[in-house]
Amino acid sequence: MANPFNPIDWLKSAQNWFSKTEKSSGFRPYLIFLILVFGMSICLLTFFHEIKYVPELSISMISLSVIVFLILYSVKSCTDPDFCRSESHVQKIMKIELECMGTEAKQIDGDILETQLVNESYKEKHKLLTTSINHKEVE
């Protein structure tokens, strides 16, 4: 159980959350980072704008974050297209890539066969008796 007063637990929770969300919805952590930077910059501009260099610092933070976000997002979208897709979409794409199934004599598209197996499969009608000498089918 995580202790809310322990900063290491907070760090661990954040790491776990990032590791789970990063794969399929990788833009979310960056988006949250951007929102935090925007929030902080707006607060600085609103409440501390009289202090020297605060407006410049706030604007620099916003522009730098946006530029870095755009670069990272562009690179990531080229190198790992699944990065910004939802888990269900990735699974759908993978489903399309199901191999041909069946036998050496009759091959059938994996998706069609999967549906058939769900809807039309049945137990074998005849129970088989096996002995070491001969094999005989019985009702």
Binding site: V90, Q91, M94, E97, L98, E99, C100, M101, G102, T103, E104, A105, K106, I108, G110, L113, E114, Q116, L117, E120, S121, Y122, K123, E124, K127, L128, T130, H135
Partner: protein
Amino acid sequence: MNYYIITFDRKNELSYKSFHEEFVAHPKINKWFHYIKSSYIIGSTTITPDEITDHFIEIAEKYKLPKTHLVLNVNLLDRQGRLTNDAWKWLKNNSIS
């Protein structure tokens, strides 16, 4: 003809298309049955379990798929389950020969 079942730890998020094509193309595999996504039944007169394992590992490595698997000799006559008509037909025909 000897029949072996090869069952493996399949990952749904990975594509097995190329793996499948290469796996069943082994020159010693005469017959194959792949009605369950994480298993194959293969029929051959010459192949050994060692060769099946080596073949499986080689292709799994090539396509970065998990290599965990098990090869067992099977008696097609001793069977039961829930499959489609075509699958039962194959099992019936190949257990006679």
